[in-house]
Symmetry: C2
Subunit: 465 residues, 2 copies
Amino acid sequence: MGSAAGADGLTQQQQQFLRDLFPGRQALFPQEQTWIYGSDAGRFFAQPWAVVRPSTLEQVQEVLQWAQTERVPLFPRARATNVVGGCVPLGGGVVLSTLFLDRILELDERDFTAVVQPGVSTSRLQVRAEELGLFYPPDPASVGISSIGGNAATNAGGMRAVKYGVTGDYVLGCQAVLPGGRTIRSGGRVHKDAVGLDLTSLLVGSEGTLALMTELTLKLLPRPQASASLLAGFAEQEAGLEAAGAVFRSGLLPAAVEFMDRKAVECLRSAGACEIPRGTDCLLLFKLDGSRSCLDSEIEALERHLREHGPNTLSTGVTPSEEEELWQPRRALNPASFHLGPDKLSLDVTVPRGSVGQAVDRAQDAGRRNGIHAVTFGHLGDGNIHVNFIHDARGPGQAEAAGKAAWELVFQVLHLRGTISGEHGVGLAKLPYVELQLDREKVDIMRGIKQVFDPRGILNPGKGY
Amino acid sequence: MGSAAGADGLTQQQQQFLRDLFPGRQALFPQEQTWIYGSDAGRFFAQPWAVVRPSTLEQVQEVLQWAQTERVPLFPRARATNVVGGCVPLGGGVVLSTLFLDRILELDERDFTAVVQPGVSTSRLQVRAEELGLFYPPDPASVGISSIGGNAATNAGGMRAVKYGVTGDYVLGCQAVLPGGRTIRSGGRVHKDAVGLDLTSLLVGSEGTLALMTELTLKLLPRPQASASLLAGFAEQEAGLEAAGAVFRSGLLPAAVEFMDRKAVECLRSAGACEIPRGTDCLLLFKLDGSRSCLDSEIEALERHLREHGPNTLSTGVTPSEEEELWQPRRALNPASFHLGPDKLSLDVTVPRGSVGQAVDRAQDAGRRNGIHAVTFGHLGDGNIHVNFIHDARGPGQAEAAGKAAWELVFQVLHLRGTISGEHGVGLAKLPYVELQLDREKVDIMRGIKQVFDPRGILNPGKGY
């Protein structure tokens, strides 16, 4: 994968057009400046022909008009924290970065809405909202560096999805520019809208294949008054999963319910990331939030449900620093998993909530059968589990073994009526599996819709479907 | 409006095809049997050519294949509780009723999902879910008689939308048959899915113009342990709206926040529907739900916020019968509003939450200016207000005055950055206003998408956009 074409993919005239439209640092051509725009947090790479970084709507409109006329592929790119190659310019083309479209245009305490450009970082919006007593719930793991535009393009989830839903649940409307430069507005700042087809939901999660969102109107909530976290360890994975199931059935709705399996515990221990009692087979991590007056009784109820399933450790944190300490293992996990090996093939499958235990078993089986490590963790509440197949690609047959384990897991997940991606999207990484999950008729319809938005196929070609 | 064509719109051969495909009572042709299928809860009417009531997927597939080949318009119809003419066969065609597709196929306590056919009544699903300790939150006003399929086709909202969202937030996936008989599956029983375009959200709210949903997979929540209701009256409308705003800003998230204006109070009083202290200018009705241990402190907090705004009455109900009594005025309101006049022109506009007060003022102004009654009430939490322009169409110029008031309100709502429909959809009733709200580019895209699903335009033609 990868190409060394560089700016040679564009004619002199085309380069000049981009230079005129994007003055100074807004356009990049030299390979040493553009190559960093050829990758993302996964390990895919392709050399861009050029990178443009618009700062105005008009620039976006003009470049999309030009690209359609000239049939130049455009690859929208936000902060590139995605891990599936979603914004890699495979096949060659111009990278369209939203880096300079980074203004928070409005934060409205009475409407409970924010209007932002796509390049605004998720955490910056969260901090600004909190200063006003407001709350933007979606919190993908990359929240500190990812952007709202990228979150919307991939319909990013995160830890709090079990209670609060995913990014798409907070996008009330958007302005978006289509190939050819046409600009549409969909939805708006109302919390309910029953007029016309829901194009906003169609654009959310479309992985930049339909249009470039230039402005997003987001729903905000009141900031919860208080929160608390609980970490519980169990000697048997089954007991841990049973405990989580009992919590849901009781009517408690935690903001987050995270799970880490035996291998994950092993990683954390060998990385020295935290103290975990011997004989712990799985960890559960809960976050509760809500009104202060409720929280104590909810903590009590949650502790009671967990105790009934015999944890070998149970800690509760109610201050920010206590909470932070309990979340430490979860945050340390991804880096810690490299203690088992230098390479990782990662899947973010989702199964129906009742099948999480089976999915975890099958991920572990797939690792074992193929002689590699399967580290399993994730968002238990919505059935979204991350599986890192850790291996050493330099070892004989290891990369193939990881690939084989991934295929086996994909089949098992589909058998459990799950999906091959809960929040990362398809990008390039999951393309080989898509046709296993989606029937021909659905793919035909999706391609028909793509054709309506992007008749010449210039926007993020080769991704998603 | 209306046509007397009856079965004459179909050839003998076409009628025979339908008779063969739909044995016995599944097909209706005589006008005295079909006319009831020509209307809905609004006052639109058109005589169907015939009514077919499939009970199997295969019948749906065959009739959609046939209709496309023969270019016969098909009008999907669920329980027809919509008030905008959404399923009226204007222009002539065959009504496709989902009445016999009424099975709850699955209720899963571990996955927190239900799989239902479109004709299942909303309340039946709710009752069955509650028996298992589960909860299906969407509760449009017509919940007792409306169906899940109709709710999904219109993305129906309801009282609890402020906390729990609308129907679309609970549709995880569907099976749907397209014109031509093609069948797609979109989404599934997972709570998160990032693979492919979100066709489920596109079908939800499409008012039956794209496909016929034959199976819906719904997300369920755990049943809340307890609930309570509060009714507060205020001498000044402004104080009431301020009180509601203060509640939201405090971080409390009630399941419902309903509002009734001065005219609404007047209707209720003249209908003798309930006791309301003299000098009450507006009523607020709250429902809280959640864990039993939280509820008391939330009631206390809510009462405190309301008292700060000087209500002239405040009642709290915690048992089912006490709660029911407090909700009585809200339920009595629609029938009671006819005490002001025999005819009603009703809008369900939605504005940004912070503009609700202005929208209510403008609705009242529009009524006053045109010499008719404007009864304003609705779902304050999400800015969705219902305005009934009550008049007597037999009086000179009254019908015109109501129409003029509606147009004035539509302009005002759009000026406030609202939408002309929060939950009823467009159907026939709102068609005249659509192009004021949606820009040309968006309409073009919607029509392009319609073309992908329904190239010959046979499904619910003339509706929505």
